[in-house]
């Protein structure tokens, strides 16, 4: 093929920009209409869908939180009955952890990682499309069960034997467990794509020490997903087996053990919260240098702290089980390891503080969220160090002190940077700026609302109010603080509502943003806003950590890729030396059909074990049709 000169396919070297862009657009564009929607493999379109769906789930979860605060505002209130309240708090936890937090961080990765490493599409783009549909169907399954009044009511952690076969009648706990299967398949698929994209599709010259911190964070997150999610899939599958075909994993009378579930769940549970936090560290480390006017201080320290946090996160799951009566020496080990993880977090905070100290911050909304993050996350981290101590934990475990702690580290530690990231990358994703004036109001309302809502919960916890109670007695001294918390949660809700209004309004009426409105230094700002379907006219060549700043604003690029088929560069893992011109698959309807077959298999297997046998056939057929080469130019080599 390559040898024959005459019919040599047009390479991008001998084309001027306008013709090149038109030709690349024709090859990489996604057609509009039904076919485009269900068959697209463009990582940007799928990431935008992921983000929109995750934020819809965030707002639905927020409404649940308001319902809980309404019921807890007065002692012995009768707004919501115990059964419905248990469903609401389970849905709030499950929805926020599995349908919002992990998917939104992965959506940011799907959108930004290919752009920041300088490639044209994510690795395995059809798998990416498949993962979105499976995630969406999982979310629909859970929320349909809530609408049908059969939502899971056993808590987002579903401790056995309450979630077990005897004490959880009906299919509620099975719906929870199967929703886990949906979201884990989607999360694992995205994690594999990110790992392969970062390892093999980096721009030539982007050696390991030139990878942006956000991409490092997403890589560490992906490895956490790969190593932690199998634990929850094994746990949720064995729970369904116990409930459906009578296996005895969690039956203490037949050799099983109730603590086996807690070990399996929290072995996944703690890395899960680091899966949510580590991308936030990457976002803060990317936003801060742009508004401080100097590069990030301690790049090596930050990246090694990221990796250390990832590794350590597997060694401290037992701090969720300090009060189940484990031998004391075991608990002490986990106190030490839980305290030790405060060190990498500390190092990260100190590097940010040093960067801030040596620079002149410009107070745009993203920076406000970063400052709010630092103030809130340090307090959350400190309460984390407190609950890592076994004796301290025996007084505050499963009380509102812990509720305050994890909202500080999750909302403060991950949602604040996420909101900052939305304000920071919204121009790149939608081509228009979000409004600064509204942004300040959003930050002010959310920051004040958050602290007024969640800080008093520390005191409620120390005053003895347990978690997950649908009501409390009038003679206990909690009524005043609970009413205060319920009222201030309205401020927080207004903040998020204003954020939604700002995001929707700016979609059409925001100030048009150029390709680099903030003057940032990473590769995604080298493309137009929003980037074209093929991202880069020619694959960039990187020679430093800040490609847009060196050789005075001129982008060094590589040429020689064909324009009549979807091609991108494969580079070596360590030094990013070019190795081959791999093709990137075109649009395909099969991922969507395979995801429907998978969803049918999963939902059917809630009701009958034979679903796994018969349901697997359509899935296999869809996967074979997906894999079978279609004779398109991408398949020849």
């Amino acid at each position: 093929m390559m040898g024959k000169e005459s019919s040599r396919p047009l390479l991008d070297t001998d084309l001027d920009d306008v013709v090149l862009e038109a030709r690349l657009a024709k090859t990489w564009e996604t057609p509009t209409g039904f076919w485009g929607i269900f068959a697209t493999v463009d990582h940007k379109i799928i990431a935008r869908r992921y983000l929109a769906t995750a934020f819809v789930f965030l707002f639905l979860g927020g409404l649940l939180a308001l319902a809980m605060r309404l019921q807890l505002s007065r002692p012995e209130a009768r707004f919501i009955g115990p059964d419905r309240y248990n469903q609401i708090f389970t849905m709030h936890g499950t929805n926020m952890m599995f349908l919002f937090a992990v998917p939104v961080m992965e959506a940011v990765a799907i959108y930004l990682v290919p752009l920041m490493v300088g490639t044209r599409n994510i690795a395995f783009p059809r798998l990416n499309a498949y993962s979105y549909w499976v995630f969406l169907f999982g979310g629909i399954l859970l929320w349909l069960s809530f609408a049908l009044d059969t939502a899971p009511d056993v808590g987002w952690f579903a401790y056995v034997p309450l979630a077990g076969p005897q004490y959880s009648p009906g299919k509620r706990a099975d719906l929870w467990a199967q929703m886990i299967t949906f979201t884990e398949v989607a999360a694992l698929a995205v994690a594999v794509e990110i790992v392969v994209t970062v390892f093999k599709q980096r721009a030539p010259g982007m050696s390991l020490d030139r990878i942006p911190v956000l991409v490092w964070a997403m890589l560490v997150m992906s490895f956490l997903v790969i190593l932690a999610m199998p634990a929850i899939m094994f746990a949720s599958s064995t729970l369904i087996l116990d409930r459906l075909v009578g296996t005895q994993f969690y039956n203490p009378a037949k050799g099983g053990d109730a603590l086996l579930w807690q070990h399996l769940f929290w072995f996944f549970g703690h890395p899960e919260v680091y899966i949510i936090f580590i991308p936030a560290v990457g976002m803060v480390s990317t936003i801060l240098p742009t508004f401080v006017g100097r590069p990030l201080f301690g790049y090596l320290a930050l990246v090694s702290a990221l990796v250390a946090t990832g590794i350590l996160s597997f060694g401290l799951w037992v701090h969720h089980m300090f009060v189940v009566g484990l031998p004391r020496v075991g608990e002490s080990f986990f106190t030490a390891s839980s305290m030790a993880i405060a060190l990498p977090a500390g190092v990260q905070i100190f590097c940010w503080l040093a960067t801030l100290w040596a620079g002149r911050p410009v107070f745009k909304t993203p920076v406000l969220f970063v400052l709010g993050f630092i103030v809130t996350f340090v307090m959350g981290g400190l309460t984390g160090v407190m609950v890592a101590s076994v004796p301290f934990d025996t007084q505050v475990h499963d009380t509102y002190f812990v509720v305050a702690h994890f909202h500080y580290v999750l909302v403060g530690g991950a949602v604040f940077p996420l909101l900052g990231a939305v304000y920071y990358w919204y121009p790149k994703i939608c081509g228009r700026m979000m409004s600064e004036r509204l942004g300040r109001w959003v930050f002010g309302l959310i920051f004040v609302g958050f602290h007024l809502t969640f800080f008093p919960m520390h005191i409620l916890g120390l005053a003895g109010m347990p978690r997950r109670v649908y009501t409390y007695q009038p003679e206990l001294p909690w009524a005043g603080l609970n009413l205060f918390v319920s009222l201030s949660s309205l401020i927080l809700a207004t903040g998020f509502l204003l954020f939604l209004i700002d995001a929707l309004r700016s979609w059409r009426h925001g100030r048009p943003a150029g390709s680099n409105p903030w003057g940032a230094s990473t590769l995604e700002w080298a493309t137009t806003s929003p980037p074209p379907a093929y991202n880069f006219r020619r694959i960039p060549v990187v020679s430093s950590l800040t490609p847009l700043l060196d050789n005075d604003g001129e982008l060094t690029v590589a040429a020689g890729l064909r324009t009549d088929r979807r091609e991108l560069l494969i580079t070596s893992v360590v030094e990013a030396l070019p190795q081959s011109r791999e093709s990137s698959p075109r649009n395909s309807i099969w991922p969507f059909l395979a995801s429907i077959a998978t969803s049918i298999l999963f939902v059917w297997s809630i009701f009958s074990p034979w679903a796994v046998v018969w349901g697997a056939i359509p899935v296999a057929l869809a996967l074979i049709a997906w894999f079978w080469p279609k004779g398109s130019p991408e398949d020849e080599s």
Partner: protein, 200 residues
């Protein structure tokens, strides 16, 4: 932004094999997922054993012959598997086709022994925790063999089709043989766990 071409890549191959191909890394990532899943299943087996006063609960240790024969067949299957990979490396279509047919046979043979293995356990999955974990371990590995058998069958049809003689397809054959080696590799600790740990 203005661009300056500093690198010429038109000479690069359209598909590089082995460590340079993204599908190789994708297969490794999925092997890491399934590997950690199997490691967890074995850890659960040992955890349940540590709790039980005597192990296995209410059943004799499984008979050895079915499991051992299966292990032998699996270990032997590694030889043709490596050969197919090497032939794919050197793009010899005819040999790869024959090799894949042999691998299909080596994929079906273990399933026959596996049927006997389930009977050799002398326990049902719903009898007690030992029965449950042993059935799940065997079930997981059976699905592992089945999925790779289906992969091999599809690849064989592909190599006999017009799309066969193509570097990417040889890359797929290599990835599939890499995955089969992983299937055999994961069976060894499970075999030791199910058959020999109760006899210690």
């Amino acid at each position: 932004m203005k661009e300056r071409i500093v690198l010429e890549t038109s000479r690069l191959p359209l598909h590089a094999m082995g460590m340079a191909s993204p599908t190789w890394w994708g297969t490794c990532a999925f092997m890491l997922i399934e590997g950690s899943g199997f490691a967890l299943a074995i850890a659960v087996y040992l955890y349940l054993m540590s709790l039980a006063p005597h192990w296995p609960i209410g059943a004799p240790p499984p008979d050895l012959w079915a499991g051992t024969w299966l292990t032998v067949v699996l270990v032997i299957s590694v030889i043709p598997n490596v050969l197919v990979s090497r032939w794919a490396e050197s793009r010899r279509l005819r040999r790869v086709q024959i090799g894949l047919l042999v691998m299909i046979v080596f994929g079906i043979a273990p399933l026959v022994f596996r049927a006997f293995e389930f009977m050799a356990l002398h326990i049902n999955w719903d009898k007690n925790a030992y029965g449950s974990i042993v059935w799940v371990l065997l079930g997981l590995h059976t699905t592992h063999i089945l999925t790779d058998l289906v992969d091999t069958i599809v690849l064989t049809c592909l190599m006999f089709s017009r799309h066969g003689d193509n570097t990417r397809r040889y890359g797929d054959v290599q990835d599939n043989s890499l995955y089969w080696n992983f299937v055999v590799l994961t069976w060894l600790p499970i075999y030791a766990c199910i058959y020999w740990v109760p006899r210690l």
